[in-house]
């Protein structure tokens, strides 16, 4: 299967460690991915906040590029990109009036052959938890985590079709296959407020604070995410800056459990230092 990789803008800067770990881990898992040539920004929250056509046409251009490359799968590691790409594909498929308008603006003919997936789904459905478990060299024994899916992977359910809307489990299963212990908690899909992080930091600090408190109550040593916006927001908007439990990208934990030497380049990029935790479990030197 031909897979096109759509990193998205955040993975080129603030979430560099997600991009690095995703590419390294996918190579190791035998997932052949080539970066989508000349991709553009999906428009994120800003486009759909103020212009309906922009919100569809910006991601649709990326669908057009993927079609041009004859890719069967377009994989987005970022939940926001995934959501916008998937929404555009859904609207183009279901709504003829919108499709015609967007096709004209973008200058392509939508054929519906590109399947938009989040990286989490690609790894879970195309590799599987059993294969992952067989590749583990350094089991993450003793690492208790809560899996945080956030909003945009799971909702709206009729568009994303992701796992179970109120209680998704595929990230928990991946984490489990690595030897770590995913804990039960009720905040898997609550919003962290990332889209307001820069503009309404006081409210966002309360939203993040609740998630961190609930993670602590569940007994978590870390939070695991699959979204660059959630991860940076969770480490950035804390009452006591840069302290407390770290937030990992799931690809970082996979790389760690696989014993990949590249892992040492990822941890120093975190705003909350993960070394004390990793050392306490003898997972880092």
């Amino acid at each position: 299967m031909k897979i096109a990789y759509y990193p998205g803008c955040s993975l080129e800067a603030t979430a560099k460690e997600y991009d690095l770990s995703a590419r390294t881990v996918c190579r190791h898992l035998g997932l052949e991915m080539a970066e989508l040539q000349d991709w553009n920004c999906c428009g994120a929250t800003s486009a759909h906040s103020i212009n309906h056509l922009l919100a569809l046409a910006l991601p649709a251009r990326n669908l057009a590029l993927a079609q041009e490359e004859a890719a069967q799968c377009l994989v987005a590691p970022c939940s926001a990109c995934y959501n916008r790409l998937k929404t555009a594909a859904y609207v183009l498929q279901e709504n003829e009036v919108e499709r015609k308008k967007v096709e004209e603006v973008v200058g392509f003919k939508f054929n519906g052959t590109v399947n938009v997936q989040s990286l989490l789904e690609t790894i879970y459905y195309q590799v599987g938890a059993d294969t992952m478990a067989s590749l583990v060299k350094k089991p993450l024994t003793g690492l208790k985590v809560v899996c945080y899916y956030g909003c945009l992977l799971v909702r709206p359910p009729e568009i994303t079709g992701f796992d179970q809307t109120e209680n998704p489990v595929i990230l928990d299963k991946i984490v489990s296959s690595l030897g770590a212990e995913p804990l039960m908690w009720s905040y898997k899909t609550d919003c962290c407020g990332a889209s307001l992080s820069l503009v309404k930091s006081d409210a966002v600090q309360e939203m993040v604070g609740l998630l961190l408190d609930m993670a602590a109550e569940a007994g978590a040593m870390a939070i695991v995410t699959a979204c660059p916006l959630c991860q940076s927001n969770l480490e950035m908007r804390r009452k006591k800056p840069f302290s407390g439990i770290p937030a990992f990208f799931f690809t970082e934990l996979i790389g760690l459990a696989f014993g990949m030497p590249e892992e040492r380049n990822w941890w120093p990029k975190h705003l909350v230092d993960p070394f004390p935790l990793l050392r306490s479990l003898s997972l880092a030197g």
Binding site: C9, E12, D38, N40, S49, L54, C151, R155, V199, K269
Partner: protein, 186 residues
């Protein structure tokens, strides 16, 4: 139509619900105020209105009040409301429509900085085809006059090499510019 309230006269725009229905594609009249949307809304406590109130206000035609509210800008688009609505009303789509109208009618008094942020973000996309976080944040901070907020975080991110200094401009930028041009006509 005008009605009297304890706070004085209020204008009702009875065509407002039709306009929002058309823009959002949502059957707003189906709401029976179960308030499930508001129970799960993460920003309700920070906003002037709750989602169920906004739906009711659309039904009443309280256009001006809604378009000037902080709720429409604070909605983070998390879609919890729509996923749980027993009548299948996608309130996030309604909020998108409300924001679009607020921009059109220049009713931006609710939360001034949030639309400024969206504009800075989209300006960056129009310029390069991708968002360049560093210059986008700089533009937002200058325009919102919040230059000194978050300096500690910014400095730490800078030290961690989390900012790309130069934007990555895409090759076929013309195509993205064309999309922006067409969208502006809407």
């Amino acid at each position: 139509m005008q009605i009297m309230t304890s706070k004085g006269p209020v204008m009702l725009d009875l065509s407002f619900i039709q306009e929002i229905k058309k823009r959002s594609g949502q059957a707003i009249e189906l709401c029976y105020q179960c308030q499930k949307c508001s129970s799960g809304c993460p920003v309700a406590e920070h906003a002037d209105y709750h989602p169920n109130q906004v739906v009711r206000m659309i039904q009443y035609g309280l256009k001006e009040r809604i378009l000037n509210s902080s709720f429409i800008w604070l909605c983070s688009g998390c879609e919890t409301c729509g996923a749980r609505c027993p009548n299948g009303i996608k309130i996030a789509a309604v909020t998108d429509a409300l924001r679009e109208m607020a921009v059109k009618e220049r009713a931006l008094s609710g939360e001034k900085n949030i639309p400024l942020f969206h504009n800075a973000f989209l300006n960056s996309v129009r310029r390069d085809g991708r968002v360049h976080e560093l210059s986008m944040m700089a533009q937002y901070k200058l325009r919102s006059r919040t230059l000194f907020a978050d300096l500690d975080i910014g400095l730490k991110m800078f030290k961690k090499g989390k900012f790309a200094f130069l934007p990555k401009r895409i090759k076929r930028l013309k195509e993205v510019r064309q999309i922006f041009k067409e969208a502006a006509k809407q």
